[in-house]
């Protein structure tokens, strides 16, 4: 017995063998050079503009803003990408694709920009990883098959798991030391010792505000807060995905009335011709003028 239903799916697609071969070529051309690199380039830019400094510098990773801001910003793009891959292809890897893509972009930046060009040590500019959170999000969508349940449970776990999954990467930097009689964490000292001419210390936002007043459990309170906002952001960006990802045709029916059809896969098929009584979407008596136009909102 086969592991996957691939044969059944291919049979159901009613594509001839050449069509199947071509579709795999399209998969390769579309997925890697276009979808993957497109996502990592744009998501990287999006993330760096909104939460860049928190991810660049080790002395920005505080218990409040880093924990709050990073999941909120990192859930946005996956929301839209997940909509697209799930709605049109039932592929549950939108979040993982986005966030591994983001990390590919980040590591290119770390090696070429921060280490090779600007000469900062890599540990000083080590980014956080949310791949584990992305996997949890994708698995939730796959298992619940509901974007609403994914928004409630998956995104909640996405934000809540951010700190524990990154603690092994950054815990060493929270060890205390004494410099000139002042207590600092190693991260503070690294931020001080590596001179950043254009990034003075006051730009950091370290535990400003009242979130930390609840019994000192700053990280978890921040994570809860972040989870709620992330749910909202995921929902909004899922709808953004819906808005920019929809595809439809304006078709002209039997009586020459124009209407919008979302059934894009059927246009041009025998079924379409049978249903509408027109071959290839061309209305009778409408020769010489275009009656089928691709469009999107």
């Amino acid at each position: 017995m086969a592991l996957f239903r691939t044969k059944e799916i291919i049979a159901a697609s009613k594509l001839p063998p050449e069509g199947v071969k071509l579709s795999r070529m399209i998969d390769a051309i579309y997925f890697l050079p276009i979808a993957y690199f497109g996502v990592f380039a744009t998501f990287h830019m999006h993330f760096d503009l909104l939460a860049g400094d928190w991810d660049f510098w080790i002395d920005w990773k505080d218990r409040q803003f880093w924990v709050t801001v990073t999941p909120i910003v990192e859930v946005m793009y996956p929301g839209a990408i997940m909509y697209y891959f799930w709605t049109f292809y039932r592929q549950p890897f939108g979040a993982t694709l986005s966030i591994t893509g983001l990390l590919v972009g980040k590591w290119i930046t770390i090696i070429l920009a921060w280490y090779w060009w600007a000469n900062f040590p890599m540990n000083f500019v080590m980014p956080a990883s949310m791949v584990s959170s992305a996997l949890i999000l994708d698995c939730t969508l796959l298992l619940t098959r509901s974007w609403m349940l994914t928004a409630i449970f998956g995104v909640w776990a996405f934000a809540m798991m951010f700190n524990p999954s990154n603690y092994p990467i950054f815990a060493y930097s929270k060890q205390p030391l004494v410099a000139d009689g002042a207590l600092l964490s190693l991260a503070d000292y690294m931020g001080f010792t590596y001179v950043r001419t254009g990034t003075p210390e006051y730009i950091r936002i370290i535990e400003v505000g009242s979130l930390r007043t609840f019994g000192g459990h700053t990280v978890w309170i921040s994570a809860f807060f972040s989870a709620f906002i992330s749910m909202l952001m995921f929902t909004i960006w899922w709808q953004v995905g819906h808005f920019v990802g929809q595809s439809f045709f304006w078709a002209t029916g039997k009586r020459g009335v124009k209407y919008r059809t979302n059934d894009v896969m059927i246009v041009g098929t025998d079924e379409y011709a049978q249903r509408h009584g027109t071959p290839n979407g061309i209305a009778p008596g409408a020769s010489g003028r275009a009656t089928l136009a691709e469009g999107k909102s």
Binding site: R5, I9, I10, L15, L22, D27, F31, D59, K61, D62, R63, F88, Y89, R90, Q91, T96, L97, I99, L103, N119, N123, M126, P127, S129, V131, S132, L135, I136, C139, T140, L142, L143, M161, P164, Y167, I169, F170, A171, S173, Q175, P176, L177, A179, D180, G181, A182, L184, S185, D188, Y189, F192, T193, V195, T197, P200, E201, Y202, I206, E207, T218
Partner: protein, 420 residues
């Protein structure tokens, strides 16, 4: 290979050779400074007034310690266009972290974080550095002011010899042990990134090995397609991956927590640094000042009163880190290591250079004239939104005691020689 392909290769080759030729013909030398001259004159002249800046030693080897020190006076006549220095940070202007900073003290107080400074206050800074990247580097003291940006002090050249690979930056931890900031936590960070990245790519690959887009879209558009695409193997994979993630996160968190039992949050206090104040027996008031654009000179008339008991002679006017000296200044305050490109040794002229006697009040015409006004782009002062200048005037008595006055006043540009 046919003729057409040969021709194509020749064209491509010619273009390559031409590109190489152009590159060699028009070399692009590396930019060595930080654009400090492009900062507006009012920002450089009327905010932090730098003096006694020292870069010592100017030549070091990798891992050697060096010092950047000096004083700055926070101008009383702070420009309206610049946010007041309520949150400031003494910084180093350098091309990347060519030195690591070991300590930074302002008036004896460590300045790891940012704090307020007072208008009219005087601050002495001492920054200890450790040479890290070999090269010929232009180093500035820098005052970063929240809301206003970095204000660069005078820049001096420091050379570092040796090999970067030899550099270490050991730090003693409070819980015991020493850690090198160059490599601390790097292996663990790479391990976790590779582990999670690997799992992420594995998850994507699980779906990549099967038809991904066109075929699935066609099936999904059919009745019952959604059900067909719900592969039981994917569900199992989903449960396995979900469990794997939670287990790895839990193990990683608790093992790390036991590995680092003593941690502290990031520290972000504000040092309260008490300023000192300039000491001088002279009082000075700017009666009038003009800026001679074609003559590249700042001419001012000061009313000066000597309230002390010994005669004093004016020897230096310094503004924007640029020093204009006369013979008195050269005799008393010439630092041979101060960068020559920001110092005019005969740049200060007075109509009457006799000493100001105790109890005497007189008007003095002071003329600081040098091409530095243009070269350092201070002549752009005429384009400032507020036509005022500021700086420090230094005077000495016969025993070599220095008296410093901060002056500021309105300035009128003189555009033509006839006008002047």
């Amino acid at each position: 290979m046919n003729t057409k392909n040969l021709l194509k290769l020749c064209v491509i080759g010619s273009l390559g050779v031409a590109t190489l030729g152009l590159t060699l013909a028009f070399t692009a030398p590396p930019a060595a400074a930080h654009g400090e001259r492009s900062q507006e004159p009012f920002l450089r002249m009327r905010t932090a007034q730098w003096y006694d800046t020292r870069w010592s030693p100017s030549k070091t080897s990798v891992n050697d310690e060096a010092m950047l020190s000096g004083k700055m006076h926070i101008a009383e006549d702070w420009p309206r266009a610049v946010v007041r220095p309520n949150r400031t940070f003494i910084n180093v202007g350098s091309p990347s972290s060519v030195f690591t900073r070991l300590s930074s003290k302002v008036n004896g107080i460590p300045m790891f974080t940012s704090g307020p400074m007072e208008l009219g206050g005087d601050y002495e800074y001492v920054i200890r550095l450790r040479a890290r990247l070999p090269g010929h580097h232009h180093i500035h003291p820098m005052l970063a002011v929240n809301g206003a940006g970095p204000i660069a002090g005078p820049g001096g050249w420091m050379d570092i010899q040796g090999n970067y690979k030899d550099f270490t930056n050991p730090v003693k931890l409070l819980v015991g042990g020493t850690i090198d900031t160059e490599t601390a936590g790097l292996v663990a960070g790479l391990f976790w990134h590779i582990l999670w990245g690997g799992l992420g790519f594995l998850w994507i690959a699980w779906f990549m090995i099967r038809p991904m887009f066109l075929i699935r879209a066609r099936v999904l558009a059919q009745e019952g397609g959604d059900e067909l695409l719900t592969d039981p193997a994917d569900k199992v994979a989903g449960f396995v991956m979900l469990g794997t993630c939670f287990i790895i996160i839990a193990i990683g968190f608790f093992v790390t927590d036991s590995q680092y039992p003593y941690t502290v949050p990031l520290q972000a206090g504000a040092p309260l640094i008490k300023p000192t104040h300039l000491q001088s027996d002279l009082t000075m008031k700017v009666l009038a000042a003009d800026y001679d654009v074609p003559g590249r000179a700042l001419r001012m008339t000061l009313t000066v009163t000597n309230n002390g008991e010994v005669p004093l002679r004016i020897g230096e006017f310094t503004t924007a880190g640029i020093r204009f000296l006369n013979k008195v200044g050269v005799a008393n305050n010439l630092d041979p290591n101060y960068p020559a490109e920001i110092m005019a040794l005969d740049g200060l002229n007075m109509e009457d250079d006799s000493p100001i006697l105790p109890g005497e009040t007189k008007d003095i015409k002071l003329d600081s004239r040098d091409s530095l006004w243009e070269f350092q782009r201070l002549m752009d002062m005429v384009h400032d939104p507020e036509q005022r200048f500021g700086g420090l005037v230094m005077s000495w008595d016969d025993s070599g005691n220095r008296h410093i006055n901060s002056i500021a006043g309105a300035i009128i540009p003189v555009f033509t020689r006839a006008q002047g």
